[in-house]
Structures are given as structure tokens and as C-alpha cells.
């Protein structure tokens, strides 16, 4: 009985609120931080790449460097480049895939700066990544009642590319020193079929079997405090003289 009464009251309240006029929509205030907060180029190194072995199957190692700068307020064009190696050694197969990769794209900062020296950012971004890599099967073994068959596949070179959408943050821990994480959703684009064996590992992307890979990176950065805009401005003044 009590439940019925409460249900009736709730329905009544819903009906009343439906009938009321919609409250006036609040307009989002325009960003007030339309200024360059980070002068110069920021250089970073991904500290997770050498330890991927811990959370991936097989032995995966690598290194990655990043470069970004604030070209317009809150817009950070980014270039990332690295090298990765993947080894799988089981009783039946010895595989190696390796290569260098690069990504370029842009990050957009969503976090409004509280003051001119507030360089912390929370961003979303897009990347285009590509690699020129190679793989080889040093040995494979097929065991059967009829005997053991061994073989190998020589080195195969391949090109692969993918797109990434990402979300992350970078915080200034000391003057010009930053740390930050990024979560990356990677979508593989079409690639040439190598035949046998197919591509297994794409440096910078991950396992080629998957059309979509999720990745996490954590980097430390140093912002080279060189204000190239100021320098170029000075030059102009000199020419005018």
C-alpha cells in the first residue's frame, strides 16, 4: 500500500515537472585562457615502453620519445617516435618482430588555466601512426606421430599504419618538468597481406590480429624554455631598423 502511494506521488511530481517550462539554458562561458602557456618545445620519454614485458604476452620492449609545443592557445601539435621489439619463444616457435615507428597529430587542452603560469593540461588528441618494420620466424616445430617437422621463415619487411584517439594529462611537477599519462585507442588501417606467416606484431600498434588495441603510456617531459616566438619577433624588429 505504501509502495503504491509513493509511486503515485512520484508520477504526480513527474507530470507536474513535465508541464513546467524548461529552465533557461546556461551558456557556457567563453574560455578566458586564450594565451600561450608553454613556450618552447617539450621533449618527453615514455617510461612504460621498456617494461611492456610485464603486462604483455611474449617479450616486448621499446623506447619512445615525444615532442610537442603549444602552437596556438590550447593546441599542441605532437610528434612521437620510437622503436619496439617483440620476441615469442615457445616450444613450438621462435619469433622476432621489430621496427621503428612514428606518430604525428594534435592535442587539445580542455583544462582552463587558472593563471598565466598554470601549465597543467588535460587533453584529447588524435594521431596518425606508421611503421616500417620486419618480422621473422627463426624456427617453428610441428610435432606429430609421424615425426617432428621444423622450418623457418626468412625476414619479411612490411609497412603498417593506424589511427589513434587519446585522452590524457600532463602536469608540471617542477619548473619545466612534467609528468603525465595517456590512454590510447588504436585502430589499425588496412595493410598488405604478407601471406605466410601473416604479420603478428606491429611496432607502435601491438598485435596485428586485433583491429583495435588499447594502450597506456606514462611519460616524463622537459620543456626547453626557449621562446621561439620572442626570438622571431626580435628579428623582425632588427630588420625594420
Amino acid at each position: 500500500m505504501r509502495i503504491l502511494r509513493y509511486t503515485f506521488v512520484l508520477c504526480l511530481l513527474a507530470a507536474i515537472s513535465y508541464g513546467q517550462a524548461e529552465p533557461e539554458k546556461k551558456l557556457k562561458p567563453k574560455r578566458t585562457d586564450n594565451f600561450i602557456r608553454m613556450k618552447g618545445i617539450r621533449v618527453g620519454v615514455d617510461v612504460t615502453r621498456p617494461f611492456q614485458d610485464v603486462w604483455t604476452k611474449g617479450n616486448r620492449y621499446g623506447s619512445e620519445f615525444t615532442f610537442d609545443m603549444e602552437i596556438r592557445p590550447n593546441l599542441f601539435p605532437t610528434f612521437e617516435s620510437g622503436y619496439e621489439l617483440m620476441k615469442v619463444n615457445t616450444d613450438y616457435i621462435n619469433y622476432t618482430g621489430k621496427g621503428s615507428y612514428s606518430r604525428f597529430g594534435i592535442d587539445y587542452n580542455l583544462l582552463q588555466a587558472e593563471h598565466k603560469n598554470d601549465k597543467d593540461i588535460f587533453f584529447i588528441g588524435l594521431r596518425y601512426g606508421f611503421t616500417i618494420a620486419k618480422q621473422q620466424v627463426d624456427q617453428y616445430i610441428v610435432d606429430s606421430y609421424w615425426g617432428t617437422e621444423t622450418g623457418r621463415y626468412a625476414s619479411q619487411n612490411f609497412f603498417a599504419h593506424w589511427g589513434e584517439f587519446l585522452i590524457g594529462m600532463k602536469g608540471e611537477i617542477f619548473q619545466n618538468f612534467f609528468m603525465g599519462w595517456t590512454i590510447r585507442g588504436k585502430v589499425r588501417m588496412r595493410q598488405k597481406d604478407l601471406g605466410m606467416p601473416p604479420v603478428y606484431f606491429i611496432p607502435g600498434f601491438g598485435k596485428a590480429d586485433n583491429k583495435f588495441n588499447l594502450d597506456f603510456t606514462y611519460s616524463v617531459y622537459y620543456n626547453i624554455p626557449w621562446d621561439f616566438r620572442k626570438s622571431s619577433g626580435d628579428k623582425k624588429i632588427e630588420i625594420q631598423k
Binding site: 615469442v88 613450438y92 616457435i93 606421430y145 609421424w146 603478428y200
Partner: protein
């Protein structure tokens, strides 16, 4: 240092054969022993079975001696062999396409190919029709 990783074994494509009485068409379970010609190890020893799984070799022919209740026949499978990739973690394996089967007629009356494709998904590929033993066994 990563934990010790566990990998699956590569799959195996095995030919599946069942046994039927050539006169009644009913399933029978003879005591069988199977060994590959040229090999020392037996594949199956003195087992009472109504069906059997047999591995094929990477060559284009695979020959077995099969003893059905102590009556021995030779069965030779002529097949095409194709190497298959399972994954870089489990490795490679072979699949087969049966072309024909040669056999002796000591106990085997006939062989019917039901599915010539021998893959990692095992299913009934052939039926062996065996003559009944004169002593009134199977």
C-alpha cells in the same frame, strides 16, 4: 621480470574413421592395433573402439597397418598437405585434403569418404566397412 607464460599447444588435424559392419551396416567395435608403416611406435594398441583418430604425415601419402581382431589390413591415404598458421603463440600445423584411399581387403570390405577435408575441427571423415568375423564376433 614477467611471470612464466603459458602457451597453448598447436592444434592437430586428425582423420576420424568409424567402423561399420559391411553386412548389417551397424556400428561395430573391433579390437584394434594401429601403427604407421616405417615407424616403431604403435599409435593404438589392443583397444576396443568403434571409431579412431589418425594423424597424417606431411608427405602426400600416409600408410597404416591396422589390425582388426588380429586380421591385418594396410590402409594408404593419398592426400594434399597444407601448412596452416594458428597464431604466433601456438605455432603452425598441417591440414589435409584426401584424394583417395588404397587398402587391402583382409577385413576391410570398403571405405567411404564422407568428408575429404581433414582440419583441426575433427569430424567423421571416413567409414570403414568391415566384414564380420566368421566365428560370429563383431
Amino acid at each position: 621480470m614477467a611471470c612464466e607464460e603459458v602457451y597453448l599447444l598447436p592444434p592437430q588435424a586428425l582423420i576420424q574413421a568409424s567402423f561399420l559392419n559391411s553386412e548389417t551396416g551397424k556400428a561395430i567395435s573391433p579390437e584394434i592395433t594401429v601403427w604407421g608403416i616405417g615407424l616403431e611406435n604403435l599409435w593404438v594398441k589392443d583397444s576396443v573402439l568403434n571409431a579412431i583418430l589418425l594423424p597424417l604425415s606431411v608427405n602426400d601419402t600416409t600408410s597404416y597397418l591396422i589390425s582388426f581382431d588380429s586380421v591385418i589390413d594396410t590402409v594408404t591415404f593419398i592426400h594434399e598437405t597444407t601448412k596452416k598458421y594458428e597464431s604466433m603463440e601456438t605455432g603452425f600445423y598441417y591440414e589435409y585434403q584426401l584424394q583417395s584411399i588404397d587398402f587391402t581387403n583382409n577385413r576391410i570390405d570398403s571405405i567411404q569418404i564422407l568428408d575429404s577435408l581433414v582440419t583441426k575441427t575433427w569430424n567423421e571423415n571416413i567409414t570403414l566397412y568391415l566384414r564380420p568375423l566368421s566365428a560370429g564376433g563383431n
